[in-house]
């Protein structure tokens, strides 16, 4: 996938576990784990906002676009 989720890096930076983040943003650990491992197909703005509030960061700190040769750009 061309969009990378850097949740792990931010959690490490903030010395926070996935379980703690789950409790703060009111999302299950299972769903956050899907997001963290890059298996999610989409993210709601409300989820992104809640994570940004909890980790005190910007959406751009969490998501990174990486050029993927298997998916040529138009």
């Amino acid at each position: 996938m061309a969009i990378l989720v850097r949740l792990d890096d931010k959690l490490h930076e903030r010395r926070m576990t996935l379980t703690e983040l789950a409790a703060r943003v009111d999302i299950t650990v299972a769903n956050l784990s899907i997001l963290k491992t890059g298996k999610a197909k989409a993210i709601r703005f409300s989820t992104l906002e809640a994570i940004c509030v909890a980790l005190d960061c910007q959406p751009g700190d969490l998501l990174l676009y990486q050029h993927d040769d298997t998916h040529p750009n138009p």
């Binding site: 769903n31 956050l32 899907i34 197909k41 989409a42 993210i43 989820t47």
Partner: protein
Amino acid sequence: MTPASTQALGLARPVIQGLIILNGLYTLVISGLLVWSFFIDGWPERPLGFDMVNAHPLLGQGLRAIVMIGIAGALIVHFVLRHLRAIVDTVRVGDPFNLENARRLDRIAWGVVALELLRVAVAAIAAVVWEAGRIEAFSFAPWLAVLLLFVLSGVFAQGARMREDLEGTV
């Protein structure tokens, strides 16, 4: 779900199951009738009471062809009922919006098309060997059902895609 649809759903499986059994019995009976017609003396005038003096010379063969079409129709009905039962089962377990159900509805629609074409064939044979207009070749309702089934198939396919999108959303 509305109370009416809940009741209909509860009733649907036993009704479909019963129809599958009845259709199986019907297939056995008309298959037996077809085989029997080859062994009985004076087919078809004696068992069916036709006046062969005024009847078409191919009446016997024509009636056998109609019975054969009837057997083919029963096999299609079996195919349709089995698909319908599978769809009802997915509704009962709470997972109706999947692509397999869309494909099932598509196949049911084609099954109904095939049944209507068989009806045209039966009417054509009956018109030649028996009496024109005795069996209706066209009925509006089944073709409307075909249209509705194809539309429903599209709705299910779209629903399945939307659900798939939602499943990967965090």
